[in-house]
C-alpha cells in the first residue's frame, strides 16, 4: 500500500514563520483523479509546490511510490498556474509544449523528430494543433490553459500535479480537458488537480482532498463531499456551498434509493 501511492506525512509548511499548511497526513491513491479543493489561501498551491520540492518544507515528508521527489522528478509533471508566466514572451505554442520534452532530452541536447511528433500529438489531444505556430500572446485564457496542459502531457510521466488548469476556461474547453484527464487516468496516470468547482469535482473526479490550512477530509468524492465537510473547509460562511453539499446529498440519496 505504502509503495504504490503518494504518501504525505505530517507535512507542515510555513512562510515567514506563519504556517500555511499544518500537519497534512494522507495517502493519495495512484491511477485515479484526485481533486484538491478549499477556499482561497487554503494552501492548495503551496501543497503542490511543496510536493514538487519548489518550496522548503518545515517538517514531514512526501513520498511518491515510497521515494522522495528528487529521485522521482523524471516521473512527475507539474503544471503551474497560468498567471505564473509572462504570456508576452516571444515564443510559439509549439515551443512551449516542446519544453515538456526537455526533462527527457537532458541538458544541452536538441529535440529529435520523435519529440516533434509527440508535441504534435499532445496539441491534437487538447485541440490546439491549428495554433502550433501562433505566438502565445495571441491566445485566449482558455487556449493558454490548453497549451499548458499539452506541455504537461508531453512530459509523459506517471504523476501529474496541476494547479488550477480550469481557471479562466469556458464550459466547452473544460469538458474537452476533463475528457483528456479521464483518458490519461484510464491509461494508468495519477492526476491531482486544484479545482474550484465542487459540483464538477463531484461529477468527474474519483477522490477529493479538502484543505484549509489542515486537511479537513480525504476520500472518494461520494464519501467526503458532504455538507458537513464543505462547511468545515469553507468555514460555513458561504451559503452557496452548503447548498451544493445539500444538493449532493439529495442526489446521493436518490441514487441509493434507485
Amino acid at each position: 500500500m505504502l509503495h504504490t501511492s503518494i504518501e504525505i506525512h505530517d507535512l507542515t509548511v510555513s512562510y515567514q514563520n506563519k504556517p500555511v499548511l499544518w500537519g497534512i497526513d494522507c495517502h493519495i491513491p495512484i491511477q485515479q483523479l484526485t481533486a484538491l479543493i478549499g477556499p482561497n489561501g487554503a494552501g492548495k498551491s503551496t501543497l503542490l509546490k511543496s510536493m514538487m520540492g519548489l518550496i522548503p518544507i518545515a517538517s514531514g515528508f512526501v513520498h511518491f511510490n515510497g521515494k522522495t521527489i528528487d529521485s522521482m522528478r523524471k516521473h512527475i509533471s507539474y503544471m503551474p498556474q497560468r498567471e505564473s508566466v509572462d504570456w508576452d514572451f516571444p515564443i510559439s505554442v509549439k515551443e512551449v509544449v516542446m519544453m515538456g520534452r526537455y526533462s527527457k532530452l537532458g541538458l544541452f541536447k536538441k529535440p529529435r523528430e520523435a519529440d516533434h511528433l509527440i508535441v504534435q500529438e499532445c496539441l491534437r489531444k487538447v485541440e490546439m494543433e491549428k495554433f502550433a505556430d501562433r505566438q502565445i500572446s495571441r491566445l485566449s485564457g482558455g487556449q493558454q490553459q490548453r497549451v499548458f496542459m499539452a506541455r504537461a502531457i508531453a512530459q509523459d510521466t506517471d504523476f501529474y500535479l496541476m494547479d488550477e488548469p480550469f481557471s479562466g476556461v469556458d464550459a466547452a474547453t473544460e469538458i474537452t480537458l476533463l475528457d483528456v484527464l479521464k483518458q490519461m487516468r484510464d491509461n494508468g496516470k495519477t492526476i491531482i488537480v486544484v479545482h474550484h468547482d465542487v459540483q464538477a469535482v463531484a461529477e468527474h473526479f474519483d477522490n477529493a482532498l479538502l484543505l484549509n490550512l489542515r486537511k479537513t477530509a480525504m476520500g472518494s468524492v461520494k464519501e467526503v463531499l458532504t455538507e458537513h465537510n464543505l462547511q468545515q473547509t469553507y468555514g460555513g460562511k458561504l451559503q452557496i456551498l452548503s447548498d451544493v453539499g445539500h444538493l449532493l446529498s439529495i442526489e446521493q440519496k436518490k441514487t441509493r434509493l434507485r
Partner: protein, 290 residues
Amino acid sequence: MDAFWIILTGSITAIACALAGTFLVLRKMSMLSDAISHAVLPGIVSAFLLTGSRTGFPVLIGAGSVGLLSSFLIEYLHKRGRVQSDASIGVTFTWLFALGIILISTMGGNIDIDPDCVLYGEIAYVPLDLFSIGNILIPQALISMGSVLLLTLIIIFIAFKELTISTFDPEHAQSIGINTTMWHYILMGCVSLITVAAFDAVGAIIVVALFTAPPSAALLLSSRLSHVLILASLFGVIAAIAGYFLAIWMNGSIAGAMALITGIEVLCAIIISRVKFQLHSLAKQKMIEI
C-alpha cells in the same frame, strides 16, 4: 584607422549588451544592469591600484566578481534581510558605487580615472591603448570586449534551451530539475563581465542604454526569441555606427550619441508596431466585410 577601431569596439560592446540584455529585459531585471554597472566601480579602482591598468584580464576577473557579488548581495538583502527587492537594488549599488568614488577621491593623484569618465566613458580614447598581436596593433579594449562577447555567445549557444525555460517559466524549469539559481548567476556573471569590459568605452550609465533599449525595441518587432536576439544585436550595431557619425558631426560624446540613437530606435519600434497593429486590425475588418 581610429574610426574603424572605435566603431568596431562600439559594435562589439553593443552586441554583447544586446544579447545579455534581452534575457534581462525578459526576466524584468533590466535595472540589475544599472546596479551592476555602478557596483563594479570599487572593483575597477582596486584592480587599477594593484595592476596599474584599467583593462586586461586581471581587471576583468577582479571587477567582474565584484559585479557578481553585488547581485548576491541584492538577493541576500531581499530574501534574508526582507528588504523590498527594488530597495535592495538601490541600497546595494549606491553603497558600492560610493565606495568606488571614495577610493578615487582619496587616492587622488595616484589614479588616472576621472569621475566623468566613470559615468559615460570615453570610447574615443580606445585606439590609444593598443596591444600588439604579431605585427598588428589592436586596441586593448577590443580584445577584452571581444573575449567577453565570445564567452556570452558560447553560453547562449549551448544553453539556449536552459536559459529560455528558466526565463519563461522558472517554476516549471525547477520542477524538471533545472537549477534556475545557477542560470541566474551565470547570466549575472556575464552582465558583470560585459559591464567591466565596456567600462572604458561607454561608462556606467550609457551601458544601461545598450543593455535595455535595443532588446526592448527588438521585442516590440519580433515574436521569436532567436529573432529578437539577432534583431537586438543589429540595433546595437546600428547605434554604434550611427552614433559615431552623429558624434563626429555634432563634435560631441560618441557614447552619448550611441545611447541617443538607441532611444530613437525604441521610438521607431513603437511606431512600427503600432502601424502593424492598425494594418492588421484593418485587414481583419476587411475580411469580415467580405
